[in-house]
């Protein structure tokens, strides 16, 4: 399809792509040391969609992401109740949490360039999964860095420290690293906070490409970013999921809850 990428085409493409349920969340509640962060959330994320999550600070968006790949195990006080099914199987039932996390790429708001070379940053995940051949690693590194819109800037200094890149470059390195896992699911938590607007646009284009291959969950503070990227969006507010709707409906169509419209139009939050 060579037509101009209008919203209309975008959505008809969505209908063609989005298919089976990738993640099925039922009655998810999250707390930190008894203090509730998220209450009774149920929603579905479909394969090959970009699923947006918007909402003001402290609404439980990040906690939701952390529960998806069992990151709660890294935080002693964090408790998760309810069921999360990934490919139809409860994530708690994966006896090997490492295999689960290998399929799920994560990008956090603050970039984390590991203190090793740029090449090693991106080659780490493939190496962990047992890839040793230089040629194969080279290909992965180049492909992932290109996709994260970083290749051209670092191609002639792959040996220098990843942690010495600028903030925006480190964030793209983090995205490249997440892609290097060859994930089925990509969790992005406000990825564009440390990235300049031009680069953000380039990454957004990459994400639109990627959804042909993988499923993306995009947590964002930028309502317009959700509008540009997400086919469906959830609105979280103070630990509750107010509504899940087609993104365009949230902005122009019928909302299920008036607070959603107020938020997306910037009247609070």
């Amino acid at each position: 399809m060579t037509a101009i990428d209008t919203g209309q085409h975008q959505r008809s493409a969505d209908e063609g792509l989005a298919g089976d349920v990738k993640i099925d969340v039922r009655n998810l509640s999250i707390g930190y040391a008894g203090k509730s962060a998220l209450r009774n959330v149920s929603l579905e994320i479909r394969e090959h969609e970009i699923f947006g999550i918007i909402g003001p600070a402290n609404s439980g968006k990040t906690s939701f992401l952390r529960a998806l790949n069992r990151m709660d195990e890294f935080t002693e006080s964090m408790t998760v109740d309810g069921a999360i099914r990934f490919n139809g199987r409860d994530v708690r039932e994966w006896r090997n949490a490492y295999a689960l996390r290998r399929r799920i790429g994560v990008v956090f708001p603050l970039p984390v360039g590991l203190p090793m070379s740029i090449y090693d940053n991106v080659a780490l995940a493939p190496r962990l999964s047992g890839i040793r051949k230089k040629q194969q690693l080279d290909d992965i590194v180049e492909r992932c860095l290109s996709r994260a819109a970083l290749w051209d800037e670092v191609r002639d200094r792959l040996g220098s420290l990843g942690s010495l890149l600028s903030g925006g470059q480190q964030q793209r390195l983090t995205i490249a690293r997440a892609l290097s896992q060859d994930p089925e699911l990509l969790l992005l938590d406000e990825f564009s906070i440390a990235v300049d607007p031009v680069t953000t646009m380039r990454i957004e284009d990459v994400l639109k490409e990627l959804r042909r291959e993988i499923t993306i969950v995009l947590v964002t503070n930028l309502v317009q970013q959700a509008r540009r990227l997400a086919s469906r969006t959830a609105f979280f507010l103070m630990g509750e999921c107010v509504e899940v709707n087609d993104t365009e409906a949230m902005f122009t169509g019928t909302v299920k809850d008036p607070r959603t419209r107020e938020y997306v139009e910037g009247r609070f939050g």
Partner: protein, 289 residues
Amino acid sequence: MFEATELNFRDNRVEWAVKALFLLMTLLLILPVLLILGVLLYRGGPVLSWEFLFTQPTNGMTAGGVLPALVGTIWLVVVALLASVPIGVAAAIYLSEYAPQNALTRAINLAIINLAGVPSIVHALFGVGAFVYFFRFGTSILAASLTLAIMTLPVVIVSTLESLRAVPHAFREACWNMGATRWQTIWRVVLPNSISGILTGVILEVSRTAGETAPIMFTGAAMFMPLLPRSVFDQTMALSLHLYTISMNVPDVPEALPYGVALVLIGLILSMNAISIGFRTVLRSRRKW
């Protein structure tokens, strides 16, 4: 328009007084160190020579050099290092990277810190009971070094813990999120970024034990033993005990001799510190976030 007020002047005077006070305290701290070094150099300096370092004591330890004691102390410290580094570092890695942060772990941490306060003579008696008799190592370098190692383990663990905790948690999470196991994360991310701190701390702590006397005098150090040790099962002389012996138990020792021995002991510890700082400089130059 911007005139200094009475209050500004007062702030200024307080600032000056506080700074002067702290400078004074720092000088007071340095003074004894300089005095000790000065006296040692002044009184023991003339004794120092290559011959002093590389010959044995003669005439009932009233003349000659310190070679067996110097070599013995190096043996003791190196064997103690070999014993305490693997155990201490492994324990610290467990406590920092694996142990759940609950009351039990906190209690263990507290216990370790308190262990560091156990007097060395108590460790000495433990060493006699455990290593000399129970494990039948006899009075030997092995028994003495293990006693030293037990004594330094708490500080080794604490200093290693500090180095491990200096590695940002975000690095670990980033690695875990890629599906790395705890050990893969430790091996590829945590250790490469803390190894310089670990080594420096460990070498500093253990070389400090070169000066310990109590833990080794019952477990492996001999007052007079002109032959150099051939294995860890031999007894040996040690600088610290030698200094004690010639100062307290041997009549007619020339006045300068104990100062010379003390100078050698301090020189040895300082060179070990220098080695560990060299280590750190080399390792630090190869990284950083």
